[in-house]
């Protein structure tokens, strides 16, 4: 079987049963923005804007390369932005403008 066929048969999240290395018992205290990101996920779920399965699928649809390159909450926030674009709740341009405005602030909370 070719390597590309493996990509078709196993989406990025579908890793159950694969071989993998030893379990490194790592953990870390969430950074403030990571905790805000987690709370945002919950609030989006409460409002039925993005539910848990949509979030998981949104991360998976980032594709293997981005999934491997981004950390856990980096993947979440990019997935949220994509899902919100797809649902038409705001546009990529609106997000880009907001990001530029935040970057121009003298101090960022």
């Amino acid at each position: 079987m070719t390597e590309s066929a493996d990509l078709v048969k196993r989406l990025p999240n579908d890793i159950g049963g694969l071989t993998a290395g030893p379990i490194s018992k790592v953990d870390h205290e969430l950074l403030p923005w990571e905790k805000r990101c987690h709370a945002l996920a919950d609030v989006l779920d409460f409002h039925k804007i993005i539910n848990t399965e949509e979030k998981r699928r949104g991360v998976e649809s980032l594709g293997t390369e981005m999934i491997n390159a981004l950390s856990y909450y980096e993947r979440w926030i990019v997935a949220f932005a994509n899902i919100l674009f797809q649902k038409g709740l705001f546009t990529p341009e609106q997000l880009a403008n907001k990001i530029a405005e935040i970057e121009s602030r003298p101090t960022i909370a």
Binding site: S24, K35, L40, E74, A109
Partner: protein
């Protein structure tokens, strides 16, 4: 991007980032989080104080909550029966633990013959209302990949070696169904109070990677 860190091919984990200092400008993803949140608030899709309130909820959930539930199940057979019948209802009604999501909770009882282990192979589903957020290793590829195919080897990496005649059952969590392990009550704890018992119940015992032991008491 100040939060930039090296990424290699194997990178699939949340590693500790550099310590935050006040002069550090936020990184790309942190700014994106602020932007998404502010847009949602401006468009009145979420309330301005909802994130802060949810952070308080998240901070209030730790494995100590789950430990109280387990200790009660050890001392009260009727409660244990209700917990095993409907985990969410028992936690909500008898411990006032609010489930801030739509998830169900199935409590899996360890016995002399059966040892349970929980995992989320697809992502990181976890009984968050009761245990708080999962540790990083639970969200990483080695645990997610191997827990279902070689659970005994995984358990051994946590120092847990079970007799061959103990059946190992692995339960794979979903967006809607979460699991919690009810560990075996350690021998020699007949005279322990419920509070003393709760101190023996760690996060990892409720994931199922280690047994509860008298030596494992939380100080």
């Amino acid at each position: 991007m100040e939060h930039q860190h090296g990424h290699d091919q194997q990178h699939d984990h949340d590693h500790p980032h550099a310590e935050i200092t006040h002069d550090l400008r936020p990184g790309y993803y942190e700014i994106m989080e602020t932007a998404v949140r502010e847009l949602l608030i401006e468009k009145r899709m979420i309330g301005a104080d909802e994130i802060r309130r949810q952070i308080e909820v998240l901070d209030s959930r730790t494995p100590a909550l789950g430990a109280r539930v387990i200790a009660r199940a050890w001392v009260d057979p009727d409660f244990k029966a209700r917990l095993l019948a409907d985990g969410r209802k028992a936690c909500e009604q008898e411990f006032g633990i609010s489930f801030y999501d739509d998830t169900g909770l199935i409590v899996l009882e360890n016995t002399d013959r059966v040892h349970n282990l929980i995992v989320c192979t697809l992502c990181s589903c976890y009984p968050r209302p009761i245990l708080g957020l999962p540790p990083d290793w639970y969200k990483l590829k080695p645990y997610r990949s191997r827990a279902i195919s070689e659970p005994r080897a995984v358990l051994a990496e946590f120092g847990t070696v079970l007799p061959d005649d103990v059946e190992v059952r692995v339960s794979d969590s979903t967006a809607m169904v979460r699991y919690l392990v009810l560990p075996l009550r350690p021998e020699g704890t007949e005279n322990y109070s419920e509070e003393q018992l709760a101190a023996l119940v760690t996060r990892d015992t409720m994931i199922g990677v280690v047994p509860a032991t008298k030596a494992g008491a939380i100080q």
